[in-house]
């Protein structure tokens, strides 16, 4: 199923920025500028944002408003970036976080 809502019965067509390219774990991906990184990833079918430090368990979006910090990823080399409240920009380098690093 298409993850993006084309037209919503109440909200109409989602207002989005321009389509931009970024990289996710080294591969090219697309999303709309200004939407949270997590929205672009969800639309691309990505659920796993990180693997935990102790048990190496997958984690993804949980609160989506920057509070639970479960969705943190490595963005442009910076660890622990909350993907749900960080706007997507063209050319961003987004990586799955493992523990507190990208490897």
């Amino acid at each position: 199923m298409e993850k993006r809502i084309g037209e919503h019965p109440i909200l109409g067509k989602p207002q989005k920025g321009k389509l931009v390219t970024f990289t996710f774990d080294g591969a090219a991906a697309q999303g709309y500028e200004g939407e949270p990184i997590s929205a672009a990833l969800a639309a691309a079918g990505v659920s796993v944002h990180r693997y935990t430090a102790k048990a190496h368990k997958p984690r993804g979006i949980f609160c989506a408003i920057g509070r639970c910090t479960d969705c943190v990823m490595v963005v442009d080399g910076e660890v622990n970036v909350r993907a749900c409240v960080t706007p997507l920009r063209a050319g961003m380098d987004v990586k799955t976080q493992r523990g507190v690093s990208a490897v």
Binding site: A39, V48, H49, C63
Partner: protein, 527 residues
């Protein structure tokens, strides 16, 4: 240091309302909000609000947010977004992160309206991707236009769980079930009914045993619980899902007030830790006020009124309003607030098992257990007649503070005596079939029935907030209140009108004897 008369933290319904009242009285006012968009939870609430005209009833939450924001801007309130208040220090010093800097501000008065945060429950697999808060689902679909998943199980049959379930359906997701450990639906029955009639099953006295999956949840198992919330072996039910939504309540977010040294109490009925506040929203710390969910979880309508009171109180505290004006405004707003706090869902009655409506009618047990009023019980409240001519069928069975149906009818067909009374028909007034009541009812509980359109058929007009909107002539099936197929149906009319505000009216033709049962429509293609 930059100083304001009034610093408001949080641009949700309470914060915006507080700032408006302050600014109206001449206070130099600023609002800081950590989010990119103002309005707080209003911007995720796409349903029409309950209440009366004064409470902006039948206006959708996000529109109310826009209205408040415009009003605040018009009064000269500075609304600073992407501005996270990171501390409320002594002497009312507010430290705000804005962009790549922190700024220090002083407020002669500070109103904290930081709202609430979602509760969580833990079970095996709750940390899997795909298990999310109901608020997260709202954020993803209503703010960012992305479906959180395809097949969703909702845990929680309070208002949040019910509203979000309906929103998931509107976004095109499948809701496989709504489960709740409580033995009865906790939210408004009408919210449950509009979900149930689309075919969603309700499992009360059920909770989640475990979620399974690898890199994402792919199944969830629920089971029945006894009165002590212990699992009953053998009652497990497993659903294949890619998403589990948790809607298990909210907690006030009062950390900022705690940091400021305000006295905080733990009050379970208010959702957890709340500041000790007086009738004006004043906390134990001089010049610091609290309003909205941060001082106790309630509806957004109440938050707006609390915000107004706190805004006026801050004005009085700073000498911008005389006490008499404050007292009058408080009395007026308190009257409105107490009106909102009446009925079966009044804060004081939370947790009570209500057996009879204020009118003395035995409440629908099926509504509480299964999310819909069954065919036998509905007769206590309303009935469809198999006669020609339009007649509104009002399936509003609980005393909630709401009366737009009365105000909207051009022919005064509907009366609602006190705001929480069940609507009644004025028999002597002829319904014109305009459909405004159907479109205006925030609970989507009103249907128009024309009991005889010839050939043994009746027309049922129902509210329809989904896409695609079926077209005249489409064939399909009618579903009953319980979401089961009751008969074949044909679309005789699909009405879109700006007066209906996106609640489209779908008129379906069904066999006359089904007029009392047919409450939803599914196109053949969609069955």
């Amino acid at each position: 240091m930059k100083r304001y008369d009034l610093i408001v933290v949080g641009a949700g319904p309470a914060g915006l309302s507080a700032a408006i009242e302050g600014a109206k009285r001449g206070l130099k006012t600023v609002i800081f909000d950590e989010n990119e968009k103002p309005g707080g939870q209003l911007f995720k609430q796409i349903h029409k609000f309950f209440g009366s005209k004064e409470h902006r009833a039948k206006i959708r939450g996000f529109k109310i947010g826009e209205e408040l924001l415009a009003e605040a801007a018009g009064l000269g309130v500075e609304v600073v977004l992407n501005a996270a208040v990171i501390g409320l220090y002594q002497e009312k010093e507010v430290v705000v992160r804005i962009g790549e800097a922190v700024r220090h501000y002083k407020g002669d008065a500070v109103i904290v309206a930081t709202g609430a945060t979602e509760n969580a429950v833990y079970f095996e697999g709750w940390d899997l991707p795909g298990v999310i808060g109901a608020g997260a689902a709202q954020t993803m679909m209503n703010l960012h236009g992305v479906r959180p998943g395809e097949k969703v199980l909702m845990l929680g049959a309070g208002n949040v769980g019910l509203v979000v379930s309906f929103q998931l359906l509107q976004a095109g997701c499948e809701v496989v079930a709504v489960a709740d450990a409580a033995s009865a639906v906790g939210g408004y029955g009408v919210h449950a009914a509009k979900v149930a009639r689309t075919g969603v099953s309700f499992y009360l006295s059920h909770t989640i045993i475990k979620a399974e999956g690898g890199d994402r949840v792919n199944a969830v198992t629920i089971a029945e619980v006894d009165e002590r919330f212990q699992f009953i072996p053998g009652t497990e039910k497993r659903f294949e899902v890619d998403t589990v939504c948790l809607a298990v309540g909210l907690s006030p977010m009062c950390q900022l007030l705690k940091m400021a040294g305000c006295r905080v109490l733990e009050i379970p009925a208010k959702g957890g830790q709340v500041p000790l506040v007086g009738t004006r929203g004043e906390t134990s710390a001089d010049g610091i006020f609290a309003a909205g969910d941060v001082s106790g979880i309630e509806e957004a309508s109440s938050a707006m009124i609390e915000g107004r009171i706190a805004g006026i109180a801050a004005a009085e505290y700073l000498g911008y309003a005389v006490n008499a004006e404050l007292e009058a405004a408080i009395a007026e707003n308190e009257a409105a607030l107490s009106e909102l706090r009446q009925g079966m869902f009044a804060p004081g009655r939370r947790g009570d098992m209500v057996e009879f409506t204020d009118e003395g009618i035995h409440v629908s047990v099926s509504l509480l257990k299964k999310g819909y009023v069954n065919d036998e019980e509905i007769a206590r409240f309303t009935s469809a007649s198999e006669t020609p001519g339009f007649r509104p069928i009002i399936e509003c069975t609980q005393n909630i503070p709401c009366n737009p149906c009365r105000d909207v009818c051009p022919r005064n067909c509907i009366k609602v005596e006190s705001i929480t009374a069940l609507p009644r028909l004025n028999e002597y007034n002829a319904c014109s079939g305009c459909g405004l009541c159907v479109a205006s009812c925030p609970g989507q509980a009103i249907f128009l029935v024309n009991g005889d359109v010839g050939g043994g058929f009746a027309n049922v007009t129902l509210p329809y907030e989904f896409l695609p909107l079926p077209k005249e002539g489409d064939r399909g099936v009618a579903l009953g209140r319980d979401g089961q197929v009751v008969c074949e149906a044909w679309v005789s009319k699909a009405q879109i009108s700006s007066a209906f505000d996106k609640t489209n009216l779908l008129t379906i033709k069904v066999p006359a004897e089904m007029a009392g049962k047919a409450r939803f429509f599914k196109s053949k293609g969609a069955v």
